[in-house]
Amino acid sequence: MRVLVIEDDRVTLDFIVQGLTESGHVADGADNGKDGLFRALEELYDVIIVDRMLPGLDGLSLIQTLRAEGKTIPILILSALGEVDHRVEGLRKGGDDYLVKPFAFSELLARVEVLGRRRESESPESTLNVGDLKLDLLARLVTRAGRPITLQPREFRLLEHLMRHPGQVVTRTMLLEKVWDYHFDPQTNVIDVHVSRLRSKIDKGFEYPLIHTVRGVGYVLRVPEEASA
């Protein structure tokens, strides 16, 4: 995945670029808005990470310019704490996701990977399939290996979100934002209990597990290699 990082703080920029490179992506950095905009218009990227506060051209204007040029590339906005975090404003101006600094790199990575593959997965499908698990969005039915599974509405949305991003790490914060639609900071393992309930319904008694825990980061839904091999 090719990622453009536009960030004026050199330390943070290097840190993100290095982290993305180590995770197997190709990352370019720009330390001001104008360079960033130029590169974003000239070259092809899968995701752009842009800091909200930039010298020269600020992040939100940059995004508006890109969108006005007809670029639909997914954009992740970084925002420093202490500013008024107008998440809504950032998203309305054309951003696709919003992350408040300072952040854990694993959180940024998970979001970038989800954003980069979003275009393929968010086509208007009526069924989602991962391995032998099938989710029918219209009939709101879930079956695994042909056996129907009864889910609560929230469990259905949780599974839907995981199945829309198969093989991608989804963090707890992302689940709270996308499935529950709240931006908040749980003090307890409140998400884990929901995932483990879902897991007991769709993994228990089947050939192989589909929901996997990624330590310290979140969860991933995928068919294990030994099972697909």
Binding site: T12, F15, G19, E22, L81, G82, V84, D85, H86, V88, K101, P102, F103, A104, F105, S106, R154, W180, Y182, H183, F184, D185, P186, Q187, T188, N189, V190, V193, H194, R197, R215, G216, V217
Partner: protein, 461 residues
């Protein structure tokens, strides 16, 4: 002005003191006036009688019995309804002349005076006569030749005057006290109003609003000076508190970035060299990050910036969502969540922060409820305000600690060993403050009941 408050004011107490002092002084003064006036008049009357006796004795010596009788009759005739009493008798007390029928049977006192009671017939306006008793004072005198002379005076007029004097002086005293009292009320009320204003401001400052200032007014009296000094002190206090807060916020912010990097490096290290020690280090870093995150979030909420982004929040839905999110976790701990939600409550606010506040309270309740415990979450209207309450049946918080647990990093001794940053309730307090409300910790008997009252009247969608 509130009468109770007025009664408690030092200004009024001082004024009452002055009224009492003033009243007593006036009483002493008036008593002296009375005493000197009354005794002077009685003395005057006695002296007149004695002078008359001397005069009549002289008249007897010069003109004889007949001359004396003529003089007496003349005097009586001159003042028929006057207050003089004369009686001239022979040696056997038989009346010769005078306006008394017979010699009174009264023992003279040590100075030779007789204190009499006269029956006087008075013409009444309705016609006819009425007999009334008048006090009188008289002195007997023995004339040469064995004749007895009694000269006296009806004291009725004098007594009437004395009564009038007492009444007048009494009214004077009452008027003095009343005027002093009114003056005291006026003076103390104006002072009380100014002191009350200072008191109100101090109450608000104690409640956390350090930006309030005492009205200084134009007068540069002692209260004005006190107000100015208090304001100076408040400004100093505010800047100190602000400074401390800024420092701690800056520290949190400056440390959070390297901490986040540290965590990332540890995560990378774990990928290449899985190790239990690295896992523990990551956990520690997470805990630190969570604490700093909470501190910064509180700082941001308290700055009030988020108010600009307030929108109408369907609180009923928020409460449902929190309950739904936490129900499995509460279930897992063999505890029970009871939800009392009111329909259609909408308030202007920050949806995420309100969610966070309720979630923090549920986290807290969960932490402190024993297994089989019961947690109650309720939303409702109370006195035109919106109230969110979370109650548990855990150990609760002692009454004297309830204020403290809202402060940053404050933890009860018994919960020092349980995980937590001591910031959960501070964040709740900050969120509620953002929504112009207040948090009250109460006894749930047993357990703790936290009530968040939002400062908005409940709108119905």
């Amino acid at each position: 002005m509130y009468p109770k408050k007025l009664l408690r004011s030092t200004a009024l107490r001082l004024a009452f003191g002055y009224v009492a002092l003033f009243g007593i002084s006036a009483l002493v003064l008036l008593a002296f006036i009375y005493w000197s006036t009354a005794s002077y008049m009685e003395q005057q009357s006695d002296e007149t009688i004695e002078a008359e006796i001397v005069g009549l004795g002289e008249s007897y010596r010069l003109t004889g019995l007949n001359g004396l009788r003529a003089t007496i009759l003349q005097r009586l005739g001159r003042r028929p309804a006057g207050s003089s009493i004369y009686l001239l008798t022979d040696g056997h007390y038989a009346k010769i002349a005078g306006n008394l029928d017979r010699w009174p049977e009264v023992e003279p006192d040590e100075d030779g005076w007789l204190n009499l009671e006269l029956n006087v017939s008075v013409s009444v306006t309705s016609g006819g006569q009425e007999v009334s008793t008048h006090p009188a004072r008289a002195k007997p005198f023995l004339l040469p030749g064995g004749f007895h002379l009694l000269v006296g005076r009806d004291l009725y007029e004098l007594r009437v005057f004395r009564t009038r004097l007492v009444r007048a002086l009494g009214w004077g005293l009452a008027l003095t006290v009343a005027l002093a009292l009114a003056g005291a009320l006026v003076v103390s009320r104006s002072r009380l109003r100014r002191i009350g204003a200072i008191n109100d401001v101090m109450g608000e400052v104690m409640a956390g609003n350090l930006s309030r200032r005492v009205p200084e007014g134009a007068t540069s009296d002692d209260i004005g000076e006190l107000s100015a000094k208090l304001n100076g002190m408040l400004s100093e206090l505010e800047s100190l508190v602000e400074g401390v807060r800024r420092v701690s916020d800056n520290i949190a912010h400056d440390l959070k970035t390297p901490l986040a990097r540290l965590k990332t490096r540890l995560e990378r290290l774990r990928q290449t060299r899985p190790d239990a020690e690295v896992d523990k280090a990551i956990e520690e870093a997470d805990r630190l990050l969570a604490t700093f995150g909470a501190l910064l979030r509180i700082a941001r909420i308290e700055s009030g910036e988020r108010r600009a982004a307030f929108q109408n929040v369907d609180l009923t839905a928020v409460i449902d969502d929190v309950a739904e999110l936490y129900a499995p976790l509460i279930d897992e701990g063999d505890k029970k969540l009871v939800l009392h939600n009111a329909p259609g409550i909408v308030v202007p606010g920050d949806r995420d922060m309100l969610f966070q506040a309720v979630a923090n309270l549920l986290d807290n309740a969960l932490k402190h409820t024993p297994p089989e415990g019961r947690i109650e979450l309720s939303l409702g209207r109370a006195n035109a305000h919106v109230e969110i309450a979370v109650a548990d049946d855990g150990p609760g918080v002692p009454a004297e600690e309830r204020e403290n647990v809202l402060a940053r990093f404050y933890r009860l001794d018994q919960s020092r060993t349980t995980p937590g940053s001591g910031l959960g309730l501070s964040l709740v307090a900050a969120v509620v403050g953002l929504h112009h409300g207040e948090v009250v910790l109460a006894d749930n008997a047993p357990g703790l009941r936290v009530v968040m009252t939002l400062g908005y009247s409940a709108a119905v969608s």
